[in-house]
């Protein structure tokens, strides 16, 4: 079948699957899955841009998503005036020291001084930087964290609308991507993967441990929302009347309405990004990017600044992932650094991209939806399968009990198999590129 038919078929089957869940499990669950699918699709889009156009294997997806979440906290959480007074200036000063120090080091590095002078002064500067930073920052941080650690213990944020954080998350991710890209983009593909994986780990560590900024593992709960709260809806007279008229259960409907509101918001963002990506793909810029990807050496010979283009792509892709990360944190209403695990984030998104087909925006969409859907449904499905397979055994058989308890882990097995099978038999993904 042609590509268009294929796409239609898969989109259609996907909606059937969601409907299925809605009818047989619950609409709440179905919508919940759908919302996460949208977010996954956006992440896959971002990663796909990097892989498809520049051949960059970014294994640091997790880090950028977390940065997006951080932005959500910093932008939307109301400021904590006490901690700002206690340590705000100290933190600000250390940041200034950091920036000045980094600028100095870069200046020395790029200056025409002799190599031996550089080898001496750069480590010295870094050492002084670390000492100063610690001297100024540590007491400030201690004071901040000491303030009501159970309820607060951090600086808070700017108290702005949380939707703003989505874009700030993208920008933050983009800036960090610029720095990372400058350092690592010259490496060979698998080294780049290792380097980005490591950087993401460091970012997560930072977020887990710098309580003064993120409350670390204590998490930041109660982030403000862009959509109404269920309880508010339940108390709203107009809403109550609506539910009575159509005989909808109040509590459940309020929950569904909230989810639908998120759904609309998220879909709006997804569609916008998708359209922008498609326009970019078909534009002269997009053609140039593909030319570079298909034959880098010729492109270089023609005078194209390949390095700069790759950096561009890396920034854009990472910014999109940051955006999605902020959206995710908004949906969850809380910032939990410990959930950012490589298996759940980075590698799952990679499976989405590979399955969808690299360099192909539609593919990422489908990959995102499909893989997230399977990831969630694999648990109940796996359980069902194991129960079926072990039904001949008695209920108290230890093997049966063991297998059923662990059935949830079928999802990893399934992910692995899915990736391997698609990589082998449909290496260009379910939606190969090419129209």
């Amino acid at each position: 079948m042609t590509n268009i038919q294929r796409r239609a078929f898969i989109f259609f089957s996907f909606f059937i699957a969601i409907m299925f869940i809605g009818f047989f499990q619950s609409w709440n669950v179905a919508l919940g899955i759908f919302n996460l699918c949208i977010i996954s699709a956006i992440m896959a889009l971002g990663v796909n841009i990097q892989l498809g156009y520049a051949g960059i294997f970014n294994a640091g997806v997790m880090g950028f998503a977390a940065l997006g979440g951080l932005a959500a906290v910093i932008i939307s959480y109301p400021p904590v005036p006490e901690t700002i007074e206690l340590g705000g200036s100290g933190v600000f000063l250390s940041l200034v020291i950091l920036l000045v120090g980094a600028a100095t080091v870069t200046f020395i590095y790029k200056s025409p001084l002799s190599s031996s002078i550089k080898k001496l002064t750069i480590p010295l500067t870094i050492l002084m930087l670390l000492i100063l930073f610690n001297l100024v920052g540590s007491p400030a941080i201690e004071r901040i964290e000491a303030f009501e650690p159970a309820a607060s213990g951090f600086l808070g944020g700017f108290g702005l609308p949380i939707i703003l954080s989505w874009f700030v998350g993208g920008i933050l991710a983009g800036i960090v991507a610029f720095l990372i890209g400058k350092l690592t983009l010259g490496l060979r593909s698998d080294y780049l993967a290792i380097a980005t994986l490591g950087i993401a780990e460091v970012i997560i560590y930072f977020l887990k441990n710098e309580d003064w900024l993120t409350r670390g593992v204590k998490n930041v709960n109660g982030l403000p929302r862009p959509v109404p709260y269920e309880v508010d809806l339940q108390g709203n007279a107009w809403f109550i009347e609506l539910c009575e008229r159509y005989n909808f259960p109040l509590v459940e409907t309020s929950s569904i309405v909230v989810k639908i509101s998120y759904c609309l918001l998220f879909s709006g963002i997804l569609i916008t990004i998708f359209i922008l990506s498609e326009i970019a793909l078909k534009s002269p810029w997009g053609r140039m990017m593909r030319a570079i990807r298909d034959n880098e050496i010729s492109a270089r010979a023609m005078g194209k600044n390949v390095k700069a283009r790759h950096l561009e792509i890396f920034i854009i892709g990472s910014a999109i992932v940051g955006l999605a990360g902020a959206m995710l944190t908004t949906l969850e209403g809380q910032f939990t650094p410990t959930t950012y695990q490589p298996l759940r984030f980075t590698f799952t998104v990679w499976v989405m991209v590979i399955i969808g087909g690299t360099g192909n925006n539609y593919g990422s969409l489908i990959g995102g939806f499909l893989v997230w859907f399977l990831w969630v449904e694999a648990e109940p499905l796996g359980l069902y399968l194991v129960e079926l397979l072990t039904s001949p055994l008695s209920d108290t058989n230890p093997l049966r009990i063991q297998l059923i308890t662990n059935a949830a882990h079928m999802r990893y097995i399934m992910m692995g198999l899915l990736l391997l099978l698609v990589l082998r038999f449909a290496p260009k993904g379910i939606f190969p590129e090419g129209r």
């Binding site: 294997f57 698998d190 560590y205 990589l423």
Partner: protein
């Protein structure tokens, strides 16, 4: 006197744990570097293979323990390492046959191999958790300490002391033995030289009559065997957590790259560099400096370079520095 106290502290908190952890990393990094050198790809599934080896060993240990088998003052698990190795190697051969050999024949891009290894990683992770469950498993029996800190203090009369855990001694000794055997194999035997030749120049190796299938098989046998040891020793020394091996992937790759990826000696040394650096940089030197410096200069704060939470970050920071300054690593492995 104070000087010895300081040394005792450093030995107990940096040197011994560092050498132990370094040995575990070295064994893991050796597997990774061999696979890179001969099979020419970065195997992201290696952590899970280590976990697999440990898992099989644990299962057999439980079986053995239920039959009353024990190994005296040494952990029973050691008896079952050979069995675990066989299973792990078979698993590696299975993966090679059904996943990697296809791409080897097609001479695919290394990134394809990497993605495939991610698929294997997922699959193996799921398999392990399915079989043994996701929770921590402790399986160390036998005598815990060869001598404790208290015994040491009693013997020497010092204020501070260091203890030697059985698992530490076993790990370090085993690693030295295994690595010596490996280096002897690679440098002095015909098969070992064939492997090195194959890694150096595949086409020329084929022309010289070296059988590629044998080399590939041998690589997986050695890597699988080393991974099993690494997984078991880590699990004995600390605890077996199915999740931890994914985290270890980063320090292991760092060790391999820092030492010069593709170079076995590099992987060996790299393991210790990473492990000792992690500890050196995050250790609180307050007490040590207290012993070494005169009274009025004693520090009041913890005196850490970086907080302990950044332990894993250290290996990565070292990796980034190496990648920027000298990407081929200390011993100049294959170039990037």
């Amino acid at each position: 006197m104070d000087f010895f106290n300081a040394i005792a502290l450093i030995t107990n908190f940096i040197l011994l744990p560092g050498l132990t952890y370094g040995s575990q990393l070295a064994l893991g990094a050796l597997g990774v570097t061999l696979i890179y050198a001969v099979l020419r790809f970065s195997n992201f599934a290696h952590g899970e293979i280590m976990s697999f080896g440990a898992m099989v060993c644990i299962l057999f240990t439980w079986l053995g323990q239920s039959y009353g088998i024990s190994f005296g003052f040494l952990p029973t698990a050691l008896l079952f390492v050979p069995v675990a190795m066989i299973f792990t190697i078979l698993y590696c051969i299975f993966i090679e046959k059904f996943v990697f050999s296809y791409y080897r024949k097609k001479k695919s891009n290394p990134i394809i191999f990497l993605i495939a290894s991610i698929g294997v990683m997922f699959f193996t992770a799921g398999l392990i958790r399915f079989i043994i469950g996701p929770s921590d498993q402790s399986f160390n029996d036998g005598v815990r300490f060869i001598f404790t800190v208290r015994e040491f203090k009693a013997l020497t009369g010092l204020n501070e002391g260091f203890g030697l855990k059985t698992s530490q001694a076993i790990t370090i000794l085993t690693t030295i033995i295994l690595c010596s055997l490996l280096f002897f194999f690679l440098n002095s035997t015909r098969t070992g030289k064939s492997m090195r030749a194959f890694s150096d120049n595949e086409d020329l190796a084929l022309l010289s009559g070296i059988d590629p299938n044998k080399v590939v098989l041998l690589t997986w046998i050695i890597a699988g065997g080393l991974a099993t040891f690494a997984g078991v020793l880590y699990g004995l020394d600390k605890i077996y957590k199915p999740f931890i091996f994914l985290q270890m992937l980063l320090p292991i790759f760092s060790a391999a790259i820092v030492g010069g990826v593709g170079n076995p000696l590099g992987a060996f040394i790299g393991g210790y560099i990473i492990a000792l650096s992690e500890l050196f940089v995050t250790f609180a030197y307050k007490k040590v400096l207290g012993y070494l410096l005169p009274e009025n200069l004693e520090p009041t704060t913890m005196m850490q370079f970086l907080s302990t939470d950044y332990k894993f970050a250290v290996s990565f920071i070292i990796l980034v520095i190496v990648l920027i300054i000298k990407p081929t690593g200390i011993f100049s492995g294959k170039t990037i």
